[in-house]
Symmetry: D2
Subunit: 222 residues, 4 copies
């Protein structure tokens, strides 16, 4: 079985902000080096530059705006993310929903900078719609599992496998992440068995006393 | 050639508000009766009830919210639209964009009340994504043409025909409306020739001195 | 003690939608007639017209948009509310927050139609800011109490009395409503004692088996 | 006359992104050193860390979110801005309007980190409302002047002087910036004469071939 892609969303946890975010990036780099698994991080905007300068791991933004260049204040352009060292961005995370038109424009803006779009979705029809936009990745986040403490893979594998099926049908080239309820290597393995190419996760790594330990468990089956 | 569906968006024009909206509904009813063409209207929320009580024409809402029942103020539920006499709703109009998750939930909420969803889109990939959600209608509104005074059909028929093609590929059962730049019967005919099932229009009817005259022109080729 | 103003927010409860909303309006009319207390209702947009035609009670909208006339779809103008029979509107309800610029523009749009603005606020500084915009009413909704089942007046009268004080200082002419946790006549009396001119409430009337009974209790101290 | 505060909003101009933003910060540092005038910059989030590390000039964010710590993706916390080196933030810029409740919460979040809040407003009543929230700065941006190429001070000094007056009445300790139509030292001088403590500007510096030259002109009267 090929290795999964593991993407760690820093969110706005205090445990992942500023200097502390480097501690998690260090763990990601070390476990990636040991295991050969690719581990990416999505820190706060302000931490993209320092982390991408210090570490040779893939750095993603948590969000990108589609805006006209210039007359926009407080917005985040693909160009600026690119210059800061990000190689891609989450798009439409459940905590930062976008209009359909903006999702499409964001994917396009990222593509123009050769950046990777990871579009988050919440159920089968939305996953099909997102797939029709041909993003690089689709991260399926069933709302039943977000922050629930229940493993996506154990709870109801059907949610994931049905979404994988509709995505594959609409856009076979899409890579798929399981985006909620990932806690252990067993979860990652089940996600892979259900057809996912990797996982998107946050709290179980960010809030861990020892992030490297959790990451090592996550990659252990591979 | 079968007759097109003509949907008149009242927007918030003074010319279509309150009592004046009845004048337009009267024109729609009369021209529909003369021609056999189905003409629907999408008035302000407040005018849905009086218009649907006075006229036997299809009445649509301009927008529907997907909200949890009860704890939402100032929002518009499919249930309440249904009770007021609407048979469907625009969804994601260019002047009222929704998140992808809300578009999907709105279509679902309308479907549960057996109401018709008319999802508005702005380009080919967004039309494909909307089609993946299986709504009844997709109204293609190329931003180049919205309020431009340029006819959609004359300006660049390719925008329409390419979007029609992607919609048909993703969801063959979808009905398609041309949703910008419709001014005359010739426009409607070209829209039909390009594969559309009808048109969505606003100002050319609403702001006309004589709405019936404009509607008669629109249906004249059929 | 002069009588309070009681404003019943219908929200989107099934119990207040369509025909059922008339049942509540009937109770409001009857109890108002019996007691001499003014009782207003804020039904769904679609029910503003039928209710204001059938009943001689004050009808409010739950929200008003500030939009340019014409090119806006799915929005609610003060003009259209006025024509439908509304005499005022809630503005910035906790379930429909607006930008500061839009709150100001909404108040202005209502004022131009001689309609009443009821601006909802959540704490002292926000109440002071709202007062600086000189609306007719300010409805203080402490988030600790919204939908909590705890009476605003019993729980922490200080929240209310401090907000009343700042509002009076900034704009003495403002009328003030207690906007959360109102369940009984005793609550209304305490709100009056704290300096409020009335109450804004929803579920305790809307979800009651017998709305007239609840309304009678609410007005019983006056 | 005491020196004004000059705050340069980088917006998302290509000319101010990444490495190019350092060029503008260099000009700000040099002209500030020559003249004794305080010149701050508000770059993209990603550039806050590198610019605040390289330059001893005040660095502001263009926006701050008020969000619960942790469960928010793609949002910007005061804590994270603080750790990145920002000393304050714009709040409610005309290109990033916030709800009234969020403006108040943003000011509070900044205050807790001892950071400076610069709240943008568009007219007199909105300026009064913002003043009631007691922020450090209020930046008055009359919409008639934003990006108009017309100087705020020349065009209609009354807009500014009336807003200054209402702000002073509601919160005398507030510092005030003229936030639109600033192009030259003469504009800055007139803004000072009208009672402003400084200016907020963007394109005239950012898009200049030689930003230092423009900054030197802006500070020339002092």
């Amino acid at each position: 079985m090929t290795a999964p892609f593991i993407l760690v969303n820093y969110k706005t946890y205090l445990e992942s902000t500023g200097q502390r975010g480097h501690r998690i990036a260090t763990a990601a780099r070390d476990v990636a080096a040991e295991s050969g698994v690719t581990i990416g991080v999505a820190p706060a905007y302000m931490d993209i530059h320092p982390i991408s300068r210090h570490f040779e791991i893939p750095v993603y933004a948590q969000h990108v705006d589609w805006v006209l260049p210039g007359a926009s204040t407080g917005h985040v352009t693909a160009e600026a993310l690119h210059q800061a060292g990000a190689i891609g961005s989450l798009v439409n995370h459940s905590e930062r929903r976008l209009t359909l038109a903006d999702i499409e424009a964001s994917i396009r803006a990222l593509r123009e900078k050769k950046m990777v779009a990871v579009v988050c979705t919440n159920n089968e029809p939305v996953s099909a719609a997102a797939a029709a936009l041909n993003p690089d990745y689709i991260a399926i986040e069933p709302p039943e599992l977000i922050g629930s403490g229940v493993s996506v893979s154990k709870a109801n594998p059907d949610i994931i496998s049905r979404s994988v099926e509709v995505v594959r049908r609409v856009y076979p080239a899409a890579k798929i992440l399981a985006g909620a309820g990932i806690q252990s290597g067993e979860c990652v393995k089940i996600a892979r068995d259900l057809g996912c190419d990797g996982v998107l996760l946050a709290s179980s790594v960010i809030k861990a006393k020892n992030p490297a330990l959790v990451l090592r468990d996550l990659v252990s089956p591979f």
